[in-house]
């Protein structure tokens, strides 16, 4: 069993070393799903604690986890980046720590029960987080966590290797996928900053607050702002 597992990790590492293979990050996430008995895995790219991209292939659950954290400003990926260490929540429905109250409820309602976030360290900073989830509760075993940490390391090195060969001032094509509505959220932030005459980070907080207060997803609020159906008043 241990040999089988190691061969999966080795394949992911080999894919990472080959680099040119466009599906390398997906392979790492696929390896994580297979090795750690997960429902899904993905990598989010982060700068200064903010979600900035999502790579590793399409996955409904990962998209949801990103969306929730972007909307709520709380959750395991954000904590993993901030704390610089693994954040493990084996049961969102009965958490040992009462962190992310809103995120947890929304996650469970959408079928995510266990979530694990492992930071991608490169030197002193984390460039993102490897996010893993299950639809049933259950902690990672020590072995599983160890494999997860190795895969997070592989993903970090892979991202570095990809970006190292990117055109200057651009994201490598394989790192540039992002959820479609994220662009709208940033556009709406720009619009709201003018409407309310506030700084961009403040405008983003206002958008987020509006989404929260109205019980609607941030992407819908953003779409309404961009389409001029919604005007945030000071």
């Amino acid at each position: 069993m241990a040999t089988d597992r190691w061969s999966i990790v080795r394949k992911a590492i080999e894919a990472a070393v080959d680099g040119a293979d466009g599906s390398a990050i997906e392979s790492v996430c696929g390896a994580a799903v297979a090795l750690l008995s997960l429902k899904g895995a993905g990598v989010c790219l982060m700068v200064d604690g903010e979600l900035r991209g999502s790579v590793g292939g399409p996955d409904r659950g990962i998209a949801l986890l990103n969306e929730l954290q972007l909307t709520l400003g709380e959750g395991p990926s954000l904590d993993a980046w901030r704390l610089g260490g693994a954040v493990l929540e084996p049961d969102l429905a009965a958490p040992a720590l009462a962190r992310w109250p809103v995120f947890s409820v929304a996650g469970v309602r959408s079928g995510v029960r266990a979530v694990f976030a492992l930071p991608l360290h490169l030197g002193a900073i984390a460039i993102g987080v490897l996010v893993l989830y299950r639809e049933r509760p259950g902690a990672l075993s020590a072995d599983e966590l160890a494999y997860g940490l190795v895969l997070a390391e592989v993903a970090a090195q892979l991202i570095l290797a990809l970006q190292a060969v990117a055109e200057p001032d651009t994201l490598h094509a394989l790192l540039s996928e992002q959820p479609a509505h994220w662009a709208e959220i940033h556009q709406a932030t720009g619009i709201v900053s003018l409407q309310l005459t506030v700084a961009l980070d403040e405008a983003f907080v206002r958008l987020r607050a509006h989404a929260f207060a109205s019980g609607r997803p941030l992407r819908e609020i953003a779409r309404d702002v961009v389409d001029r159906r919604l005007h945030l008043d000071g």
Binding site: V47, Q163, S176, Q178, G190
Partner: protein, 249 residues
């Protein structure tokens, strides 16, 4: 502690210090100090080849002018210089006797009370990177059994340099990655700002930003950054796409 234990402890200590964000200059100074403690010499120093191949003083066991002078005097001759060129250890058992070989260096060294030198090469990925110099105030040679230790210290210095280069390269790429990720966000924010200011859709706003960047021969990301930071007024981007097509200012 026996001498052997001290050697092991030193290697463990030095290897431990080579981590992600270590200061390579501080590390090499520290390594030079340890050379003086473990090897039969009174000063130790590292010469490193720069990008142009010239030898520069990288670190020494003390900041004493003597030690630094000994290193600087080897820019064009001397045991360290020759060691680096040949890639093999170079020994001078008696600097007075080697005066004809390295006139300038031996004068400086003898004047400061040094009588013998042992230089071992530093290699990085098979290429000569510099030399570790061990300076002694007595004539003669370092104990034969200490030679592998001296080379080991030089190798450790080379590993530290390699690690520093890799870390430096990686920091650079990480910075690029983060800048590119931020740029993408800032361009979207700029589209929003311009669309609100000019009462146009975000797609039109993007077209204007891109046209403005092209006309002014600047990068889209930089234009967006200026707009978002308030260094560039939305109206000037807007105005420059008036029917004349001529940019104002």
């Amino acid at each position: 502690m026996t001498r052997e234990e001290r050697i092991v402890a030193t290697f463990v200590e030095l290897a431990d210090a080579i981590v992600d964000d270590f200061d390579v200059v501080e590390f090499l100074h520290h390594l030079a100090e340890r050379c003086v403690e473990l090897l039969d010499c009174s000063e130790a120093g590292l010469l490193l080849a720069d990008a142009a191949g010239a030898l520069r003083v990288m670190a020494s066991s003390s900041e004493r002018a003597d030690a630094l002078d000994l290193l600087r005097a080897q820019a064009e001759e001397g045991p360290g210089f020759e060691c680096h060129r040949r890639g093999t250890p170079v020994l001078s058992e008696d600097l007075l006797a080697d005066h004809a070989r390295w006139p300038a260096f031996t004068s400086v060294a003898v004047e400061r009370g040094f009588r013998s030198v042992h230089a071992v090469p530093m290699r990085v990925r098979g290429e000569a990177a510099g030399a570790l110099n061990l300076f002694r105030v007595v004539t003669g040679r370092i104990d034969e059994r200490d030679l592998p230790l001296a080379q080991g210290m030089a190798d450790l210095a080379a590993i530290a340099l390699l690690q520093e280069r890799a870390a430096c390269e990686s920091r650079h790429v990480v910075q690029q990655l983060q800048d590119a990720l931020n740029s993408r966000v800032i361009i979207e924010q700029a589209k929003g700002i311009l669309s609100e200011r000019a009462h146009i859709g975000v797609d039109d706003a993007f077209a204007r930003l891109r046209a403005y960047a092209r006309r002014h021969n600047r990068r889209l990301g930089d234009i967006a950054r200026d707009l978002v930071a308030g260094r560039l007024d939305a109206s000037s981007v807007d105005a420059s796409t008036s029917s004349t097509g001529r940019p104002r200012n």
